[in-house]
């Protein structure tokens, strides 16, 4: 059945339930596509489908999983040399839940090392290529998951978002990516980058797939994750066709300077479309948003410097050969095991927490975080959602931003504010735009951010926009 690849994950699940599609055939189709992946999107592909649980809600539609989710007996390396070949003795709660719901593990996807990066060039296993233009990055850090879904190497995937790592690659690859409310999805078994920000979410071809996958990721809180929360109600499947009564706020701080004209053009066009669908669109203020990036690049490295201390060559992973003594074992293991960007962030994080600097950096950054959350709360008194582009640019050329770390960090400035506030945010593809120097048009992302636990409503609004936009990523799935 040649049309199988064109079925969205939810369509495939429905077809399986109707008995029209054999889940084994679907798994094999994707397994073969994944195994012959030329984008370097996968780091491991399953040999065969695991035994399906009885009457699974998701039918058996296979799932691509970002490398940093622990999967029992299966390589879980977080894109790092220090974990090369590491096979954990347990499985992450969210992967387990999805497998139980009928989304078996198809493969593990490439990513920036320990989720630090916005281009997927920081993987110890090589960069991932963007299926829209193989000379360009897919975004990061969930670049493997995004590229795999965009290229039809997986029906759907999960990734993690700390400062934009689901939304930005989704935007650059022309797919849907959702970062849920912090705490909605268990972090147990997710190899941590920055614990107070990390959150798992779906990367899918369309909004309906995102809703279906998310509905099985959230629910009852995980007793193994103290920061996880009961989701107040089941995720509703989106169906909205108009935006009557929906109030969208457009923050001036995140819709002007520093954004490529092509991206801004697509954003304005989508706002116009939203108006035509009945939404009210007005400007709003997030006065502290311009400081979000600075606060983020204090808090995330600080947490990562501590989270990555466990990679010491004692219990698992890489250890430098023939160390002279304990100190050199630690120092050489961590030098050789970590890549350049991870070392940079570990250094930055260690510095901002070190004696005498804590209050100036970490303490202040946490207060900025309070202000940013308050800005959003104020906006949500007037608006249902705040909207802005997901990424300030379309996919850029491999290697083009590696020389200047801060230039790379600037990719996150539109996605980081929602991360700091812990609120859900969603990116949908809203067309194509040419890069600044001209060239083949590339996908652009439109971002919605809403109050905590507004995922169902947000997906509903995104669905209406998606239907009206008519974006079709079929071109890169062949």
């Amino acid at each position: 059945m040649s049309g199988l690849i064109d079925l969205s994950a939810s369509q495939a699940a429905a077809a399986i339930k109707r008995g029209e599609v054999d889940p084994g055939a679907l798994f094999d189709l994707y397994r073969q596509r994944a195994a012959t992946d030329s984008l370097n999107a996968y780091t491991w592909v399953a040999e065969q489908a695991p035994k399906a649980p009885p009457q699974p809600s998701l039918g058996g539609v296979p799932l691509a999983v970002k490398d940093l989710f622990c999967t029992e007996g299966v390589p879980s390396q977080s894109g790092s040399r220090i974990l090369e070949g590491y096979r954990p003795p347990y499985t992450a709660t969210v992967v387990e839940r999805l497998a139980q719901a009928g989304a078996p593990l198809l493969g593990k996807t490439n990513q920036d090392e320990f989720a630090m990066g916005s281009s997927n060039e920081n993987s110890a296993f090589g960069p991932v290529l963007n299926p829209w233009d193989r000379a360009r990055v897919p975004g990061g850090s969930s670049g493997g998951s995004a590229a795999a879904v965009a290229a039809g190497l997986a029906p759907w995937a999960i990734g993690t978002d700390t400062g934009g790592s689901i939304r930005q690659p989704a935007a650059l690859c022309g797919i849907v990516g959702l970062k849920p409310t912090y705490g909605a999805v268990s972090r147990y078994g997710m190899i941590a980058f920055a614990s107070s920000l990390d959150q798992a979410g779906p990367l899918t071809r369309d909004v309906s797939d995102a809703a279906l996958l998310l509905s099985h990721m959230v629910g009852e809180r995980d007793p193994l994750d103290a920061t996880s929360l009961d989701f107040p109600e089941p995720i509703a499947m989106p169906s909205r066709r108009t935006l009557a009564g929906i109030r969208l706020g457009v923050p001036s701080e995140l819709t002007g300077e520093g954004i490529e004209p092509g991206v801004l053009g697509a954003f304005q066009a989508t706002l116009e479309l939203a108006r035509q669908l009945g939404a009210t669109v007005e400007s709003c203020a997030l006065p502290h948003a311009p400081h979000a990036l600075a606060a983020y690049y204090v808090l995330a490295p600080a947490e990562c410097s501590s989270n990555l201390a466990r990679f010491d060559g004692v219990r698992y992973g890489y250890r430098a050969a023939d160390p002279d003594d304990l100190l050199s074992m630690y120092e050489r293991t961590r030098h050789d095991g970590f890549g350049v960007e991870v070392r940079r962030r570990v250094m930055l994080g260690t510095y901002v927490l070190s004696s005498g600097y804590y209050e100036a950096y970490y303490g202040r950054a946490q207060r900025v975080r309070t202000k940013i959350a308050a800005d959003f709360a104020a906006a949500f008194e007037r608006f249902d959602f705040v909207v802005m582009p997901t990424s300030p640019c379309v996919a850029f050329e491999l290697g083009s931003k590696l020389a200047d770390p801060y230039a790379m960090y600037l990719n996150d400035f539109l996605s980081v504010p929602a991360s700091l506030a812990g609120i859900p945010a969603l990116s949908i593809p809203n067309g194509l735009a040419s890069p600044p120097g001209g060239g083949t048009p590339l996908p652009v992302g439109f971002q919605l951010a809403g109050p905590a636990f507004s995922e169902s409503q947000m997906l509903d609004v995104a669905f209406a926009l998606e239907q009206a936009l008519g974006f079709d990523g079929r071109a890169v799935r062949s």
């Binding site: 940093l68 920061t227 600080a302 990555l308 219990r315």
Partner: protein
């Protein structure tokens, strides 16, 4: 003239809590389990694992806080204390920093600074030269102990000598033991104490430079270590030198104090709030449960012993603060005939003869039942046994248990006090030594000893000394 110096000592005490499972995971606590058989992803610090705090550990810590009169925080948080060591699986210890569970408090006139919760490190076994690999010595890590719940108790620097430190710590141990929250055994490591020691001119307020003493794993070593350090500092100061701030290791075998770490090598722990855990909000219900779980504390018990049994303050204190002795004393007292008035004698026997024979052992685990001791005391009181033969009976009881009356009967140890047999023996002794008899008749009171001796030898201690004296005087008519 050298001024007189006053030692200033503070203790930092770690107490392993007697929960079923570890502080942040469900592994059972290790009591001599084979190495590395009580671990899980959490306490091995595997990538992706998350801690969840043990409710009973918090309950125990609240009990300790209440028992020591601390101020209990209604909001307290865990921090990460970052440093590298092979026994620390995550590269940080989860501890408490500026928002501990308890502050203040007091025990036996020594004020407490704080009481907080944390997790224990793993066990590191140094193989030394026998375990050389690549020319360097090896150590082995056993993570069974890693993650055991600890309560850290920090005193104000209000102890004044090694002896004072030892006595005070034994009071603390008694208090903790009576709470049932820990085995509080120094030799086994469930109670550990470090001491901060400094000297200052007598009567002055500012503290001198302090040193920290580690590894004093018995009450005796604590006293000896602190005493040795006071003497070392006194010698330095009197020699015109200055005490260096450092961490010292006390070697109980040689009595030597060696430097572990100087001030320059001091750690920079980069404390920051543990993002994987949420705060502890001490509820009224938690407090109520902790309060209800506290039985009678040693101080209150001492007051009761004094009041209800008429014991001296010193005796009451001794029995109350060694709860095993107190329990045994109360059991023996209960086994005595009502209104026997033997409480004082029972206390003497428990704290005197019994402790002299069994030392630190819990008398309840000896062969002497409390009822047997009560019987023994009754026999002495009724002059059916002399003190000397009673001690003999106690030795037999300790050897092989049993009933004192049966032992007395079997061994013919009953007193000869009211027996004509004794009168005959006395008469024979007088007849055998006419010189002594003459001297006594002549008013030389001291000469009576020469007559008592042979009687006691003849009766093998079954005769009461004062009874024998009385009979000699009667027969000699003095």
């Amino acid at each position: 003239m050298t001024p007189d110096f006053e030692p200033v000592i503070g203790l930092e005490i770690h107490v392993q809590l007697k929960t079923r499972t570890k502080m942040f995971c469900g592994c059972e606590l290790s009591f001599g389990a084979p190495p590395n058989t009580l671990t899980c992803p959490v306490c091995l610090g595997l990538p992706g694992a998350l801690p969840v705090a043990n409710a009973r550990a918090i309950h125990f810590a609240l009990m300790i806080g209440l028992a020591l009169g601390c101020e209990l925080a209604d909001h307290s948080v865990f921090h990460r204390k970052n440093y590298f060591y092979p026994d620390l699986p995550k590269g940080y210890q989860i501890s408490q920093y500026d928002e501990p569970l308890c502050r203040g408090g007091e025990l036996a006139g020594v004020r407490l600074h704080r009481v907080h919760l944390e997790e224990d490190a793993a066990k590191l076994i140094h193989l030394g030269a026998s375990g050389r690999i690549h020319g360097s010595e090896q150590s082995i890590v056993d993570f069974n102990r890693g993650g055991t719940p600890l309560v850290e108790i920090v005193t104000e620097p209000e102890l004044r000598s090694g002896e004072h430190a030892r006595e005070w710590l034994s009071l603390l141990r008694a208090t903790l033991r009576s709470l049932g929250v820990s085995d509080v055994n120094m030799e086994e490591g469930s109670l550990r104490a470090d001491a901060n020691v400094s000297l200052r001119p007598a009567g002055s307020t500012p503290l001198g430079t302090k040193t920290e003493l580690k590894n004093m794993n018995s009450f005796r070593f604590l006293e000896r270590g602190v005493t040795a350090e006071i003497e070392r500092q006194r010698a330095i100061i009197e020699g015109g030198g200055e005490v260096a701030q450092e961490t010292l290791h006390f070697d109980p075998a040689s009595g030597a104090l060696t430097t572990l770490r100087s001030k320059e090598e001091a750690h920079d722990y980069r404390y920051f709030p543990e993002p994987d855990l949420v705060p502890i909000a001490t509820t009224a219900e938690m407090l109520e449960q902790a309060r209800a779980a506290i039985g009678e504390l040693p101080a209150a018990r001492a007051v009761r012993f004094e009041r209800d049994f008429g014991l001296s303050a010193e005796m009451a204190h001794l029995l109350a603060f060694r709860s095993d002795l107190g329990d045994y004393f109360e059991a023996a007292n209960a086994a005595s005939a009502a209104d026997s008035g033997h409480a004082q004698q029972l206390a003497n026997w428990v704290s005197g003869q019994l402790v002299a024979r069994i030392g630190e052992q819990d008398p309840a685990t000896s062969n002497v039942t409390p009822a047997a001791l009560a019987t023994l005391v009754e026999l002495v009181s009724a002059r059916e046994l002399t003190n000397g033969t009673a001690r003999e009976v106690l030795d037999v009881l300790l050897q092989s248990g049993g009933d004192p009356r049966a032992i007395v009967a079997e061994r013919g140890l009953a007193s000869l006090s009211d027996d004509s047999e004794l009168a005959a023996i006395v008469a024979a002794a007088i007849a055998a030594d006419p010189d002594a008899a003459a001297k006594v008749r002549a008013g030389n009171a001291k000469a009576i000893a020469a007559l008592i001796g042979p009687v006691m030898r003849e009766t093998r201690g079954r005769a009461d000394g004062s009874e024998v004296t009385k009979l000699i005087r009667e027969q000699l008519g003095v």
